[in-house]
Symmetry: C2
Subunit: 332 residues, 2 copies
DNA sequence: CTGTTAGCGCGTTCAC
DNA sequence: GTGAACGCGCTAACAG
């Protein structure tokens, strides 16, 4: 256990002044080769690493970006975080991850902590509307990911279009009774429903399997679906759209246990196109995660570096439907 | 966008000196009620949050714990991170997450970054032995999780015992040809193999399906298993132990595609007891994650707070076998 | 080219 | 009880 080194100690060992060490580290050209070599030598030997916390204080920027997600048991968010970390690193930033667990109070605590840690800006998968007003008053920029919100910088998916893609696919395959599994009647549901209406089809509200809001707990999802089955004896539809892959997977398992064949008896399409869908052969709406991350980061970093507060930007990316076995069946 | 506040500005607004604000925030008793109220009032109004980066500099402790994992696509690590975050928060610490992606170079960079960010200590799921010597020379404490390493503070699972449990279960069910899917002949494999030998059974080395080291990529795992099948026409064993749930799941999928029934034709036991195993009904070795986290954090925080360098501690937790459908079949 | 000086926001002596 | 002065490790401005 060697001691923690400071620039002053390095300076002493190299027989130079402390600011000179700073110049060497920051690649300032105005230092003689001779001294650069001497200083680097010492740095190597003692394993000196500059104290970013002091740099932050001095430069008034931490090169830290916060990300607050609502949960991490949904593999979609894991992918998001993973890509974000790599991409941010490439651009010279580190990330601080916080999980709000669908809890607005916790979300606000997380953001306070972001502020305390002097992050330069943050990304947010919001728990709801609750904190948005205060967030917009914060002295640092933020971008909402996954959803697009008016009046906020945000990068999301065109959920209406996603619902439309699914509806069209189901209709094309000859279905005329439709099911939905999700938390509430959000945009992806509306896109789904509207498209059906536009085509003289009908979505029966009783075919909506409502899952309680909160973490993607397999148990809760299972309960919701089984509860639904108890009331209805069987699934009164020939195809179903699940609002995320975790729900789709759980539906598939329950169907299998009951001897319901997928896709022959019921076609299934999920959402997020996570590895769960890939492994299990579940058709799913693909979100362009990488594009989403690069777009989001570019936007955020622009806000950070040019403090000019211009109009808020709300970007929508386009979904695509990845077809796999779970919906490869044509009804006749 | 209000401006970022400092103690000095709060002090001015409350007509007190900056140190007084500091006292109020840190709950110092020697401040008159009157002033406490006045200062708190201002703090509320302007939304002041103390700058932790300055506190870190002054106090020489950041209340930050680093965690470096080798991957995050294995749900086991996600659970680990999630529990760690909550538990650390309870104890007044935040965490910084880094992913080494099974890359020792990256791992070292991550650790350097930890140092730069002034973390107080860190947890490590090591990529291998490569960085261990330098890590032990660092001026801050660290604890290895998931494995127990001699000469290091570490908290791991008794992998030998885990392998033993699986072997015993398979033998009890009447199997006499055994398969294994994993990266190399690690402890869990050795425990498995040894137990077989002790019982006059034989593990045929050709029944070892080797998966390349690296991220738990479903694709790589699939390739490895399919490659094995090509060479052997069929699986030459009636039961198989997979060294993590991701591999177990992939094996199960491939078996299903080939019409091999699980558990009737082949019994399957996985490792980590993640939600993948739960959802898919795969038997699995359970790691007591919560106990592991609390033990690890207690150890690390002790090291942080009492700088007395005593003997290194190496703790092994006991695994349990969770039986599900994938191994519920008795051979006769 | 290099060293001296000042100050980022905060906590911690010290006087008063 | 409260304020003035100092310093944590670093960068930036200015001398020389």
């Amino acid at each position: 256990m060697t001691k923690k080194m400071t620039m002053r100690e390095v300076a002493k060992l190299a027989n130079v002044s402390q600011p000179t060490v700073s110049r060497v580290i920051n690649g300032n050209k105005d230092v003689s080769e001779e001294i650069v070599k001497r200083v680097m030598q010492v740095i190597e030997e003692v394993g000196f690493v500059p104290n970013k916390t002091a740099q932050t204080l001095k430069r008034n920027q931490s090169k830290l970006i916060g990300i607050s997600v609502t949960e991490i048991y949904n593999p979609y968010f894991v992918e998001l975080i993973d890509h974000l970390e790599s991409e941010a690193r490439k651009r010279g930033y580190n990330i601080i991850l916080h999980n709000s667990k669908h809890n607005s109070i916790l979300e606000w605590e997380n953001i306070q902590n972001f502020m305390a840690r002097q992050i330069d800006g943050f990304l947010l998968v919001p728990t709801g509307e609750y904190n948005l007003p205060r967030i917009s008053k914060l002295p640092i920029p933020s971008v909402v990911v996954t959803q697009s919100i008016k009046g906020f910088d945000s990068v999301g998916l065109n959920h209406l279009q996603a619902g439309r893609l699914v509806a069209e696919q189901f209709m094309r395959a000859g279905h005329d009774t439709f099911g939905y599994i999700g938390i509430d009647a959000d945009d992806k549901f509306r896109g789904f429903e509207n498209t059906l209406y536009e085509n003289q089809m009908h979505f029966n509200p009783e075919h909506f399997i409502a899952v309680p809001d909160g973490e993607s707990s397999n148990l809760l999802i299972r309960k919701a679906i089984e509860g639904y089955l108890e009331q209805n004896k069987e699934f009164p539809f020939s195809c179903v759209f699940a609002s995320n892959d975790v729900m789709a997977l759980e539906f598939m398992k329950i169907a299998q246990e009951r001897g319901i064949r997928i896709p022959e008896d019921i076609s299934l399409i999920g959402f997020d196109d996570t590895y769960l869908a890939k492994v299990m052969g579940i058709s799913s709406i693909h979100q362009p995660i990488e594009e989403m991350i690069t777009t989001t980061l570019t936007l955020l970093i622009n806000r950070i570096e040019q403090e000019v507060a211009s109009e808020t930007v709300s970007i929508q990316l386009e979904p695509t439907l990845i077809e796999r076995n779970s919906s490869r069946h044509r009804r006749t």
